[in-house]
């Protein structure tokens, strides 16, 4: 019996499964191990979540849908411009508020006419929520808003506002966390007379503050 396939080790497809088998401790132990693993799983409780009957236990920061707190929105358009797939639509007009004091200046403010998110386009990246300077957008864990028609996934501001009550409160700060910059600034000890010891420490204490604000 001549061996035409001499360079066998170079050909992984034609080489036998033997080396792999040896590493798993032989064929028979491997076979038994497979049976034992499945039998053990059979004896254990299952992992299935029976979803429509039993509501799922969602982790605290789950991204279900984006909720809008309309009062906070200034129609600044930052979210719409940062959105990677342009799924946020904002219409607004300016409104003049007459001066409250005689001789005062009239003020203008933006009034939000329309705020809509097309969830058929949204990819749940959360950039809009990150960039909103006024905390008008929030992650809500609500996820059951499927529609029969894809066009019905364009949700207007009243619908977005309805999800606001489902937004969980922000998690408490870690007790070992650094103080927020504003608080740190207020609590900063008042300037005292220059002391030789305090001097080298000051620059290092000042620099973290702008970082915290950024």
């Amino acid at each position: 019996m001549s061996e035409p396939t001499k360079p066998q080790p170079a050909n992984p497809a034609s080489s036998n499964a033997r080396p792999a088998r040896r590493s798993s401790g032989g064929a028979v132990p491997g076979i038994l191990k497979g049976l034992a693993t499945t039998a053990r799983t059979l004896a254990r409780p299952t992992h299935t979540a029976e979803y429509p009957d039993v509501s799922p236990h969602l982790p605290p920061r789950s991204r279900g849908v984006i909720a809008l707190l309309e009062e906070n929105c200034t129609s600044c358009m930052l979210c719409a411009r940062e959105c990677p797939d342009w799924c946020i639509y904002i219409d607004s007009h300016k409104e003049t508020i007459p001066a409250t004091t005689p001789g005062g200046r009239d003020r203008q403010r933006n009034v939000l006419d329309r705020f809509a998110i097309d969830f058929s386009l949204c990819m749940y990246c959360g950039i809009c929520i990150e960039v909103c300077p006024f905390d008008a957008l929030h992650w809500s864990p609500e996820f059951e808003y499927s529609e029969l028609d894809i066009r019905d996934l364009l949700h207007e501001k009243d619908r977005l506002g309805q999800w606001m009550p489902t937004v969980p409160p922000p998690p408490a700060l870690d007790e070992h966390a650094a103080e927020p910059a504003e608080v740190a600034a207020v609590n900063k000890p008042p300037r005292t007379a220059r002391t030789p010891t305090a001097r080298p420490a000051r620059p290092t204490r000042v620099t973290p503050a702008p970082e915290g604000e950024a």
Partner: protein
């Protein structure tokens, strides 16, 4: 009454089951054939060439080995009926031993030729 009458009846019942099921399907299932639906399935692309093609000769070797050994194996069943008889038992053991031994030479031959190896 021979048990094979029942067997024949079971064959008939099986064919009736098939006919009845196909009748039920005809009544209940929709039929809306389109050209695309009736094309041969090739993972979504248009079929290339014909479905009937030549295949490997290897399979043929196994089929042939089986035919030879099946002919051999059917003689084991009559043997089972005489092996306990006092006059034929030991003799038939030798006979069948020779019979299978000769064929085993063939299997060893095939194995040594490397025909039982796939690659």
């Amino acid at each position: 009454m021979s048990p094979y009458v029942v067997v024949a009846a079971v064959v008939v019942v099986g064919l009736l089951l098939f006919v009845a099921a196909m009748g039920a399907r005809r009544l209940l299932a929709p039929s809306a054939p389109t050209r695309a639906k009736l094309t041969t399935y090739e993972s979504g692309v248009d079929p290339v060439g014909q479905g009937w093609a030549q295949t490997q000769v290897r399979y043929f070797v196994y089929a042939f080995l089986y035919v030879i050994f099946a002919v051999d194996a059917v003689y084991l069943f009559p043997w089972a009926l005489v092996v306990r008889s006092s006059d034929l038992g030991a003799a038939s053991l030798v006979e069948i031993g020779v019979f299978i031994g000769v064929l085993l030479v063939g299997l060893v031959h095939a194995a040594r030729r490397g025909l039982l190896r796939w690659v």
